[in-house]
């Protein structure tokens, strides 16, 4: 099995406080890996180390290796290249408010100077189709991105992230602010996306992890407690801490 992203002995700090302790995980390509754990266990810090956003916080420090197809994301690549290859979708949908739907989708291209109208509109159509938004918004592409419903906005953000053709997509609790119907649409989208992309999703909802992921990692107090196939983790986890967490017995 090919591992798109490999994390080796990753530790992270905010000033003196250590938030991640020696975490090692290998993410299989074209699969969905869920990272679960109680609030404050370091999940968000963890994925922000994968696209080099953690280092933007003053006082933040990282140690260890993150390898994308064997290349060290910190030593062999520059931060912007990493972020183009490792995209991110956030918990609260955040379309650019001063841009239309069209401009939002191709923001990653247009803002870097791509002007060819054909390239841009092809990209808009193909990405909006991928996220299942095309039929809903094709006649309103000039409308502001913020005029859509929460679920649509989030799908727009996913389309925007996909428009730069990332190899890995990080999703930080992408459906926690959405209603059940939108959540279901996005979960089904995630299952489709993994054919082309490797997906890492953080969720505090264990049922969601069970529904959509192929592999699951359980993080607790900054350490990786257990990692394995989702089927196994949710049927018979090896670690009693994992058992307590997935059965909802955490205090």
């Amino acid at each position: 099995m090919h591992h798109k992203l490999e994390v080796q002995n990753l530790s992270a700090w905010f000033d003196e406080k250590q938030v991640l302790k020696d975490v090692s995980i290998s993410f299989p390509s074209n699969n969905v890996t869920a990272i679960i754990g109680p609030s404050g266990c370091g999940k968000t810090t963890f994925i922000r180390c994968l696209n080099r956003m953690h280092e933007l916080v003053p006082g933040a420090r990282v140690q260890g290796k993150v390898l994308l197809d064997g290349r060290d994301v910190y030593k062999d690549m520059d931060a912007m290249e990493v972020r183009r290859k490792v995209g991110m979708v956030f918990q609260k949908p955040n379309p650019f408010p001063n841009m239309s739907i069209f401009e939002n989708v191709v923001a990653g291209l247009k803002l870097l100077g791509v002007r060819d109208k054909k390239i841009l509109s092809d990209k808009v159509e193909s990405k909006l189709r991928e996220v299942g938004l095309w039929e809903e918004v094709k006649d309103d592409l000039k409308k502001s991105g913020t005029m859509l419903s929460g679920g649509q906005q989030q799908r727009l953000c996913i389309a925007r992230a996909l428009a730069v053709d990332p190899e890995v997509l990080l999703m930080d609790e992408p459906t926690s602010s959405l209603d059940p119907a939108s959540t279901a649409k996005i979960e089904s989208l995630i299952r489709e996306l993994k054919e082309k992309t490797t997906i890492v999703i953080i969720t505090h909802n264990v049922q969601q992890a069970a529904r959509i992921s192929d592999f699951t990692g359980f993080l607790y107090l900054g350490s990786l407690v257990e990692f394995g196939e989702t089927k196994k983790i949710f049927e018979s986890p090896k670690n009693p801490l994992t058992e307590r967490y997935v059965t909802g017995r955490f205090g």
Binding site: V206, Q207, A210, I233, F234, E235, S236, P237, T242, E243, V246, T247, R249
Partner: protein, 208 residues
């Protein structure tokens, strides 16, 4: 860790099924020991009661799956309960079968000692297996599965004896059929113990 309500209900039902099973066992004792007849209506009634309890266990399990979407140990508890209820119900039907056969033939001069002793051993196995499940006692369950070997051997011995032809035709039939049924009972006791192993370790095994 507080046991959920549904697990308590399921365990209570399994124990009730066991009581039915024990009562059926007493009747089978009567058949094998005192050659009593006319027990079929009673045993049929008891069997039906056991089946209804099995259905109830299934109902509770489905509801728990719907409501709680359980994982790990909780999930394995549900899965194994359904199988354990099935095994207990099956064993009840086996017991009833023995009384059914006894109705067919007159057993007045039939020697049933070895079959009786085999029966008692199998009955014990069922109780031990069920206990190991309710107590989640891994060691006992594993030991029980090993003990099945001896039942098999004794079963084959009984068949060999019957084949020598000392007994009358009906006696041979009765003993043979009953021994077969009892051997199956013991097998189901082992399957039940196997559920204990899966429940505790998450490991699935196939046993012969």
């Amino acid at each position: 860790m507080k046991e959920q309500e549904y697990v308590e209900k399921i365990n209570a039902l399994l124990l009730e099924m066991n009581e039915v099973l024990v009562t059926l066992g007493d009747y089978v004792e009567d058949v094998l020991n005192e050659k009593r007849g006319g027990l079929l209506p009673l045993t049929t009634e008891l069997c039906r009661a056991a089946q209804m309890k099995e259905e109830k266990v299934l109902e509770i399990c489905i509801e728990a799956l719907i409501r709680f979407q359980p994982f790990a140990g909780d999930l394995r508890t549900i899965a194994t309960s359904m199988k354990v209820a099935y095994h207990l119900s099956r064993i009840c039907r086996y017991l009833r079968n023995i009384t059914e056969i006894a109705e067919e033939f007159s057993l007045t001069d039939c020697e049933t000692g070895s079959v009786l002793s085999l029966f008692r051993e199998a009955e014990d196995m069922v109780q031990v297996a069920l206990n190991s499940y309710l107590q989640r006692d891994l060691k006992t369950a594993k030991d029980l599965i090993k003990a099945d070997e001896s039942i098999d051997q004794r079963y084959r011995e009984i068949l060999r004896n019957l084949a020598t032809g000392i007994y009358s035709g009906t006696c041979i039939l009765f003993n043979g059929l009953s021994a077969r049924i009892i051997e199956r009972m013991a097998d189901h006791a082992c399957y039940l113990a196997n559920e204990t192993i899966y429940l505790v370790t998450g490991e699935r095994r196939i046993i012969d």
